[in-house]
Each structure stands twice: as C-alpha cells, then as structure tokens.
Symmetry: C2
C-alpha cells in the first residue's frame, strides 16, 4: 500500500508552503494570486491528492460522523428511520455510524458510549426502555448532542421526534365506531418499556369513554403469545351480540391477534373488526386496516434537528419536541355494513 500523498508533498511540488495549500483546500482564495491558486490546483489534480480527514478532525474537533442507534435494525420501521437519518446526514456532508441495540439496554448504553468515545458529533437514538434514560440525560447535560427518535421519555431535556400517537389512536378508535362497530377492544404488548404504548393506551381509554362505560375492562395488556387467544375469547364473551372490533396497539399485538382470530375460526371483519399499528407489508396482503407512521420522516427530522444543534448550538436552550402526522390506512378488516 503506497502511502498517500500529504499536504507536505503537494506544497513542495507546487513550490509553496503548506499554509497556502491548506488555504486553497479550504476555499480561502481571497488573498491568493490567481497564479498560485492555479498551480496548487494543478498539482493537487496531478497527484490526486485527498486531504486526510483524521488530521483535519484532530484540529477542528469535527469528525463529520453522526451515530444512530436503533432498537432493532431488522425491523422495517427502524430501517426507514435509519434511512431517513442517513439520507439527511449524507446530504449535509456527514457520515453515519449505525448500530442496533437489539432491544437490550446494556447494548444501547455500550454503543452510546463507544460512539461518543469515537467522537461522533451527535447521536440519534431510538431508545429501548423509557425508564432507563439517566445516561442519555447526563450526557446531554454535559453538552453532547442527542436526539430521541420515535420512542420518547418524559421529563427530559432532550430533543425528541415522534409521531402523533395520542391523536391518531383516538382517530382510529373513533373511525372504528364510526364504521359501525359497537364495541372496540384494545390489545397491546406490555406497557413497561414504552412511553409510546402508554400514550396509545391512554388515548384508547379517553376516546372509548365516549362510547362505552368501562373502557378499561376492554383493554388487554399481553405479555406473551399464549395470552392472546384466551384474551380474545374473554373479549368476545363481553361483546356477545354486538359488532366487535379490536385495536392492536403494536405490530406484535396485531400479528398475534390475527393468529388468535384465525385459530378461533373468526371471519374478519364480519366476526371481528381489526385495526392496528403499523403498516407492515403483510398487513396489506391480509387487508388489515392500520396506522402508518412516517418513520423515514422521523429519521429525517431527527437528523435535521441534530445537525442544526451541531452547527448552531442550542439556540433557545429549550429542547424541541416534534410530532409527525401518521396516516390511517383503512382496508377491508374494518369494513362492515351496519
């Protein structure tokens, strides 16, 4: 491997000082004669000289690196988020270091620390557990630039970009009642780790109370696959004689619900209406109504805010909180005739 040309070599060949070459590289042509400028330019091209980024970084403290850590990169939603981040960062001249915490808080922390240690200039994090934010908070207080994407935490001073979970869940529940369902249940994976799920749960309770008395009794918080079928039976018993539907608050809940309904031989939507999060490819194939969240845009916006922070510091001091609008995709699973 021939060792690459340095600014030193270029300056010697051009018969000027390193400073002059450096000035040329940084576009500071103001006080430079057209002649030397041209000369330097020619030599650089001749030698195909590429300035060393590392050396530049050492001086400038700017690595041009942004880190993104998602909870599960094999999840299509996460990928879109990552792509949004990457697309914006590249456009702004940054490169992106990616990692997946695989839903493990320990990995998340490890990656946050190691990325920062490698001097990424900022971090977009799709956090694993909203209870476990001390590290991120203290880092942010120390001046590190961190933006939370999709999954939020409460009382923090971090920038956050997420979607309109509360509003959209209410909208979806309302839409189901409007379609002619008399009773709408709520299936969700555990609320323990996710603020987002909690928000949707509250939205369900708030909206449902407009249509039925004890909406809390219609909400099922499921921890594992085995709980779905019994819960579904229970819900069906409660709604006997009524047009029943269920809102599945997470893709996991949606998948398990559909399987359970299938097991029980239910016809969708005649025997049971279904709607849920998110718009994964298979939901389309199965004609399921879903809430589609703009994950690519969440990534894009997160990167935008992050780079803004990096370039301009913390202008107003107060953290930004952005909620992007989701889209309700109605398909056959909620189409009934009253």
């Amino acid at each position: 491997m021939p060792k690459p040309t340095t600014i030193e070599i270029v300056s010697q060949r051009a018969g000027v000082s390193k400073t002059t070459v450096s000035r040329y590289l940084n576009g500071k042509y103001e006080h430079m004669s057209e002649k030397t400028k041209q000369r330097v330019k020619d030599i650089i091209e001749e030698l195909d000289y590429q300035p060393n980024f590392i050396a530049r970084s050492l001086k400038s403290k700017k690595t041009g690196l942004i880190g993104v850590i998602v909870s599960d990169i094999t999840n299509p939603m996460s990928v879109n988020l990552v792509k949004g981040v990457i697309d914006h960062c590249i456009q702004e001249g940054y490169q992106v270091v990616t990692a997946s915490s695989d839903e493990q808080v320990s990995k998340e922390k490890e990656y946050v620390l190691s990325m920062l240690n490698r001097q990424v200039e900022g971090l977009v994090v799709n956090i694993v557990d909203y209870n476990d934010y001390e590290l991120l908070k203290s880092l942010a207080e120390r001046g590190e630039k961190i933006v939370l994407a999709d999954r939020t935490i409460c009382e923090s001073h971090l920038d956050m970009v997420t979607t309109d979970n509360y509003d959209m869940t209410r909208t979806a529940i309302k839409a189901m009642y409007d379609q002619g369902f008399d009773i709408v249940g709520f299936f969700s994976s555990s609320l323990l780790k996710s603020n987002v799920r909690l928000t949707r749960y509250n939205a369900f309770l708030d909206e449902s109370s407009k249509y039925v008395p004890a909406s809390k009794d219609l909400a099922y918080l499921l921890n594992n696959e085995a709980e779905y079928e019994p819960s579904l039976r229970d819900f069906l018993a409660k709604s006997r004689g009524k047009k029943a539907a269920i809102f599945a608050s997470t893709p996991m809940a949606l998948l398990n619900l559909v399987s359970a309904a299938h097991e029980l031989g239910l016809q969708i939507p005649q025997d049971l209406g279904i709607c849920g999060y998110d718009n994964l490819p298979w939901t389309k194939l199965m004609g399921l109504s879903v809430v589609e969240q703009p994950f690519y845009e969440v990534g894009l916006e997160s990167a935008k805010i992050l780079i803004d922070r990096i370039k301009n510091g913390l202008p107003e001091g107060k953290p930004k909180y952005v909620e992007l609008k989701s889209n309700l995709v109605l398909r056959s699973s909620t189409q009934i005739t009253k």
Copy 2:
C-alpha cells in the same frame, strides 16, 4: 461543553509523563512499577478519562471504522447483510459506517470514495451493477481492502461472499419436477446488471434440459410489471394439458408473478405451481415455496474476511471466494398430487 480531559492532564495529576500514561493505556505494563500503574489507574478513573480516538488514529493510521454499502437498505435481505457485518465488526472492536446506494452506480461510487477518504479501513460492498467494477478493482489493486457481498463480479481479484445460486436453483428446479410438475418455466427480472441472476438463469437452462427439450423457450426475462401477465399467458399456452409451474428468480419476479396469476384467476398450486427467491415475510403468509438465502451469514462472513485482511494483510495473495448454502423452503405453492 467542558473540554475533555487529555493525556496531558492525567499525566500531570499523576505526577508522571505522558509516555507512562500512554503505556498504561496500551497495556504495556512490562516495565512499569506496580505503584505507578496503580496511581495512573486511579487518576484515570477519578477523571473518567477517555483517550481521544482521533488523535490515536492519526498516529496509528487505524480508525477502527469499516464501511458497508448496500444497494438498497430498505430491502430486508440487505438489512440482514448489514446486521451481519455490524455484529461481527462490533465484536472485533470496529464501528460501521453504513450507506445505501439505492441501486444507483453513481451513488455507490461516491460513497466508496468518500468513505475511503474518511479513512475507513475496509469496505463491504453489495454492488449495484456487475459491469461497473473498474473503480473497485483499481482501488483493490492500490491496496484498499474490499469485500463484495452477495452480488459478485467475474474476472476480478476481489474477495467475494455469496450464496450457492447455481446449485440451489438447480435443486429447486429439480424439486419441482420431482413434485410432479411436467413443465417448469423461469421468470426473471432483467439480467443486465446482476451476475447472480445470470447464474440462476444458466442453472435453470442446465437443469431443465434434463426434463424438457427447448428449455430456453421457457425462460422469460421481464423488464417491467406489465410484461408479466402476457408472459404468463404465453407460458400457459405452451404448457396446456401439463402440470405447469414457474420458478421466479428474484423477489420482484415472484411478486409480479403472483399478482399476474391472481389476475388470471389461477389457483396455486393446482393451476400453477410457484417457487422463487427469496424468503420474505409475505411469502410465508401466502404459502409460497422459496429459496432462503443466509444473508446475515453472508454479512458476517464478509466482515470476517475483511477484518482478517485488515489485520493480516493478504496472506496468500489470492482472493477468497465463499459460497454459503441456501435453504429450500417448501410450502403449499409446490404441493401437488400427481
């Protein structure tokens, strides 16, 4: 943002020289008194000192960064490949810069160059077009470490990791005839850009010739969605009276084929058997038989080879070519009774 502690600070506080601290950091305890070692250790912990990676990189020429460029990161197959690369790299102490060329050769080149320019130590590339490899080839000749993942190019001296496309396509075709189909067609997206597709095409021709005369006539190379339905009609006309099946050589071809079959009101597998690449989530839901490629392992293996090259140079000089075994997943779409 308080400026981080440097080795200078640590050395002063510990009352030793920077050299000693540096030695400690690099685990060179051989000629170090237990006392100073302990002293340095304490101060480092007290100050929570983190050595600056950039400064280290400048000296050592090692950035600990690996680049991975895939043709389309939103594609589940690519994601698994990326994950394989990331998992192995992190385990080996490297971090991964990710980019997606979105099937554009120009972007691919741009990213290759800019990553190298940012001193990634090596690159895993899932190339866009197998005709356009001059850049990668010349870079490799210059000593850059590059491994091609999944998509290969012919006469090159690059390391490559892919799957057993030829063997598995033959196996799949054979399996279809063995299941009782009398005539098996071949639908593929354009062969222009992909060596992999060409390989599968040849495998089809070779295997088919064992069962039918002019197998070339049964192969359809489709450029856009609109061509699928007419091609399917054409194939059905050719196979009238026979148990017919089609092998779709790419996920795109598979999806379009299924749609076309649906349009024509065909029952799968009674009216038409179907098998294809790859094992995407929706193929399971539709009961389609597919070839499942080990993309995660392709990524893993690519990273392994790359890091080996980085650490040990080019031992034998000859490039490695690794073919990982795919898995034929038989589902209802190929289950007929003779």
